[in-house]
């Protein structure tokens, strides 16, 4: 048995306001897996994601990344290992040019000069946007910005890529191109999504989070074929789509 990339045990969390968002979540993701995290609005998916790199720390339970516990002193290494791509690329791309933005993460890890340049180029090539390096992020199309956002995280050579709603706001062609890119990456992926066909297409395994607990974990096709489960947790396939 390999060490899981993500190992969450009994993770519970309440926001400072008192709202309890997670009630003891157990989740294991193994190297090379592509896992979809499904669940209705307000289920706690984003809250869970923020635990993976220590932005939030659990009120109870523990999180470990490839065996390394997520604690204050491991924070920088944890953040290198777990690359989170947020939903709105405008939040993720905050530097004046694409190049500077992709360099931001590796530079924080101490890379400089030629090594840094090579890392930036490698990440941009992985998502097919090397030609955009000197452009300003706000002059890019939404699809391009989403790809660059992924590159900013890939540049840190993470062990797991965590994507929050990667297919949202993309036109069908960009959506398909992104799927091809994600499928081509040799990295473990955890993908939060409401786009169930996308989950079917990309992830063999899915985890359903509802009201702060994991209510199902298994093959994506099997889960989505379970009409009862789907209805109970407000999950719906698009009209006309069948497994």
């Amino acid at each position: 048995m390999t060490t899981p990339v993500l190992d969450l045990r009994g993770v519970a969390y309440a926001y400072p306001g008192g709202h309890q968002a997670l009630f003891g979540v157990d989740l294991h993701v193994h190297p090379g897996e592509r896992v979809a995290l499904l669940g209705p609005n307000g289920a706690g998916k984003t809250t869970l994601v923020l635990h993976l790199n220590g932005v939030l720390s659990p009120g109870a339970g523990s999180v470990a990344v490839s065996g390394l516990p997520v604690t204050e002193e491991n924070l920088l290494e944890v953040r290198r290992r777990v690359g989170i791509v947020f939903q709105d690329p405008d939040d993720q791309l905050f530097m004046p040019t694409v190049r500077d933005d992709v360099a931001f993460g590796p530079a924080n890890l101490g890379l400089r000069g030629a090594e840094l340049d090579a890392r930036v180029l490698e990440a941009l090539e992985a998502v097919g946007v090397a030609d955009l390096a000197d452009r300003a992020p706000h002059h890019l199309s939404f699809g391009q910005r989403r790809r660059v956002a992924i590159a900013t995280v890939l540049a840190m050579r993470p062990e797991i890529l965590v994507l929050d709603e990667p297919s949202s706001n993309l036109d069908p062609a960009s959506r398909r191109e992104l799927a091809d890119i994600l499928r081509g990456l040799e990295v473990t992926i955890l993908m939060v999504t409401h786009d169930l066909p996308y989950a079917v297409e990309l992830c063999e395994r899915s985890v359903v989070l509802s009201e702060g607990t994991v209510v199902a974990d298994g093959g994506t096709r099997e889960l989505l074929a379970d009409g009862d489960l789907m209805a109970r947790h407000r999950l719906e396939l698009p009209v006309g789509f069948s497994i």
Binding site: L50, N53, V55, L76, R79, R80, G83, I84, F86, D88, D90, D91, Q92, L93, F94, M95, P96, T97, D100, A103, F104, G105, A107, N108, L109, R112, L116, A136, P137, H138, H139, T152, V153, M156
Partner: protein, 254 residues
């Protein structure tokens, strides 16, 4: 995203000013403007000479006049003030054509116009030849504290995003029959401004989250340092030196 404020200020080019490292240019520009301001007001001829120098700098950027001239509009309030000055200032009066104006007011007004225009031209020569990215790097080089550099860099990055949000809110208001014609519209506009502020604040929190997630620890990494040779510094500071010598000469003579 459309065009927002500040978008087309920089113009690509390969002139001496374009190639000069941004931090050298920035120091040179600020020093030049300070020296021009230090020239005593009555020395109109010297000030005119420095204005010609500033015009020369703008010409040296090879940026088309139609791009430069509209930028001069920022000077308008000062120009208006300058025009009013001779009429309202006190002291001995002189006859200019049919009207009688204040002598000191007139001197000050002409000096204000000359200095103002020179300063604006120098700033334009800097802005059209410096990409926003280099401006940020220049500030970093000049040891401006990180928080200030970040504020400048985020402003460059997000001014369009916020302007776009504002535009969408306007459209949303207008689509529901709102028009800001009377004082009664003010509460609505105030609420809109508040909403925009909150959205920007929340955006700030999310950006911070994204920065922290990529290993940010409070220090801005200097990724691609600017390099300047002694010759760059000599060229960059030359206009400031000319202006400083002019100012010193005038002060000593008078």
């Amino acid at each position: 995203m459309g065009s927002g404020p500040g978008e087309h200020l920089h113009v690509e080019g390969a002139t001496l000013l374009h190639r000069m490292p941004a931090h050298v240019k920035l120091v040179g520009m600020v020093a030049f403007v300070l020296a021009v301001v230090a020239v005593p007001s009555p020395a109109h001829v010297v000030l005119a000479g420095l204005l010609v120098l500033a015009v020369g700098l703008v010409l040296a950027t090879r940026v088309p006049a139609r791009h430069v001239l509209p930028r001069l509009a920022v000077e308008t309030p000062f120009a208006v003030f300058a025009v009013v000055l001779p009429f309202v200032a006190v002291g001995p009066r002189v006859q200019v054509g049919p009207v009688s104006v204040s002598q000191t007011g007139l001197t000050a007004a002409v000096a204000l116009l000359l200095k103002g225009t020179t300063g604006v031209l120098a700033a334009i020569a800097f802005a059209v030849t410096t990409p926003p990215r280099d401006l940020v790097r220049a500030l970093q080089h000049l040891r401006v504290p990180d928080p200030l550099v970040l504020i400048a860099s985020f402003m460059v990055r997000y001014v369009d995003v916020v302007a776009d949000q504002l535009r969408r809110m306007k459209v949303a208001r207008a689509s529901r029959g709102f028009s800001a014609r009377s004082v009664r519209a003010w509460p609505v506009l105030a609420a809109g401004t508040g909403a925009l502020f909150i959205r920007s604040y929340e955006r700030g929190e999310r950006v911070h989250l994204a920065m922290v997630s990529r290993g940010w620890s409070g220090r801005m990494p200097m990724t691609s340092p600017l390099e300047a040779t002694g010759r760059d510094w000599a060229a960059g500071l030359a206009p400031a030196l000319v202006a400083a010598l002019a100012a010193a000469t005038v002060m000593m003579v008078s």
